[in-house]
Symmetry: C2
Subunit: 406 residues, 2 copies
Amino acid sequence: MPWLDPDRALALVVEHTPTGVVREVALEDACGLVLAEDVVSDRDYPPFTRAMMDGFAVRVADAGRRASVCGIVAAGQDPQAAGLAVENGRAVEITTGAPCPPGTEAVVMHEEVDGDGESVRLPQGIRAGQHMAPRGSDCAAGTAVLRAGQELTALGIGILASFGRKKVRVLAPPSLAIITTGNEIIPEDGCAGPVTMRDANGPMLAAQARALGLDAATACARDSVEAIGQALARASQADIVLLSGGVSAGRYDLVPAALLGLHAEVIFHKVAQKPGKPLLFARMGRRLLFGLPGNPLSSHFCFHRYVAASLRKWMGLPAPPVGGTARLATALAGVPERTLFEPARVEPDERLEDGANGWTAVPAHTRSSADVFSAATANAYLRLPPGERGMPAGAEVSFAWIGGAR
Amino acid sequence: MPWLDPDRALALVVEHTPTGVVREVALEDACGLVLAEDVVSDRDYPPFTRAMMDGFAVRVADAGRRASVCGIVAAGQDPQAAGLAVENGRAVEITTGAPCPPGTEAVVMHEEVDGDGESVRLPQGIRAGQHMAPRGSDCAAGTAVLRAGQELTALGIGILASFGRKKVRVLAPPSLAIITTGNEIIPEDGCAGPVTMRDANGPMLAAQARALGLDAATACARDSVEAIGQALARASQADIVLLSGGVSAGRYDLVPAALLGLHAEVIFHKVAQKPGKPLLFARMGRRLLFGLPGNPLSSHFCFHRYVAASLRKWMGLPAPPVGGTARLATALAGVPERTLFEPARVEPDERLEDGANGWTAVPAHTRSSADVFSAATANAYLRLPPGERGMPAGAEVSFAWIGGAR
């Protein structure tokens, strides 16, 4: 297969990713997920005509006149049950959020009246309905407030709680499995020998998944078609499987062979990008399989750009907004035949005043796809088109935030 | 106390928020937290001189000549243990990631040689060290790779895992308690009567905290100094307490009285902003107390702007970057005497090509601070300075992303 354009590869990932099934989840687990139902108001909001200020519930006819204060109604109290009503010459003291007594035409603030507790002199100008929120004025009973397909925000959680909901139907996130392959990789608790290394990709990819709210099962597999097949069989419950390592062209890169043996449909293999050229994307029935390159930086980048897009599509979330463009703090060398994605630290440009969309990018200048050390504090990936031999300091370069952040 | 400027209020919150204590946490819980230790490389990376390509380990002197292939070394194999070495006229086949055998001066790719498995003809140009990563070239043993004060990224988690770390010392997040006050509020499982409402603020604020990775204990309290005091006593283990409701000037707004009774130091009360004017911020020993207005939109905004900043400071995280400026899709009316923060949906401006820093803002046009319904899908707060009577459609307005997202 020829090397694929990175944008075409991303489009293929999104195109071949299905949307998740509908599941009912507890309200406290629903924030950030996508609604799979319309949410309808259970009653009027406010459920009663509500005082918006502390003061007195009065009649407009009493403007400029003295009214006797025949009681007080506070939030949570029922004026009718207490036999309280507003009439000409009779006002009721009221607190913010309290139900207006029958007969209320307006609420005047404490600051606008004078008088003792017995009676008060009301101001000249009283507008009917002032400082009152009529029943249902924020939201009438039966109104569809939230729609299927919308991402549930914290405000949405509050709305569902006020409607008495404990659970809500959402698009379920995919279950995720991570399999690190390679004879040089020793499992987490093994000790590293002269020619072996501990697994860095499993914990790293799990952390990237967690940043999107997903827990992943992790495992290791040796470099054999059988071992990889067995690891895939153990992960048969996962909707999306990430295999790390073994996807290059070498005679020990057995992930493609293992997938073919399992009759997986390889959608693409090898993308014209650095890092992550050997990236493989395949489908097995409804399951998706990503073959990520074993070099940690390549794995990290391929999750950032491709796996995250697949997870978002599965959860019904839109693609994360592009990061934007930043000014290069140091020159950056290109890779003629491939698109370069360089880790970088992107910070607000101090030469622009607060609020301006100005960013400065400090490239990590990684030495290799194994050099995660230079990239440890990166918060974005810069993008240099192929054919671009390099860019000088000060040049504008486009970037995407790491972690789907805006 | 006079109304405080919103920026001065934010500065006071950050200034009075301490940085959290150091705690050792498991690696899988550490991503996004701030390191409280320098992390030093346990060994050289790569730990051996490593082949960067699949091919043959050779001598430079054999350029253009035929060399016999005396074996193969793959990733995870020890060539010395296998008695493999490279000499003039003798090459060793090698796979990406494998240790170079003793005597290796360069690696040539499969594509560059011809010959059967027995011997290969090598190309003319062979550069010493080509396609080899010398031991320690990515990171030498003893190098401080991560520094105290840095936010732990997924790459950082991978680095710690490769160093054999299971735990890491970080700045511990604060413990959080949320207390919703008000006689009109019925607890979650109660049923709403004609003049009562279910608690929306507790679940909403808990969801906002969760978006920052924090779990919060929630409770309700009646409108009495005693009940509020008892709820605060039950939350005595919390580092930061959010009280919702009861912070206005009314005779049933008893949070200020309750805090004074507990000898809390009120740092400010009332901010010149809409929503959230009654916001109160206090300190009790090392504990911080936020008195959030009871209207859900006010509570949501005050968490977004003030509580989140306090939580980030506690965790050692920098202030979230400013969102930027967006083009107003519809006109927005100002509030002369206060800074207006209006919920809005901010999306990339379709009139600008991909990658450009262009945003369009659709204001929610909320009717009141109780109107969370119009704001349910907002992802940002727009900011209009005081004195600003309004802005027409198309005007540039500054915004901040909701949820600390960039």
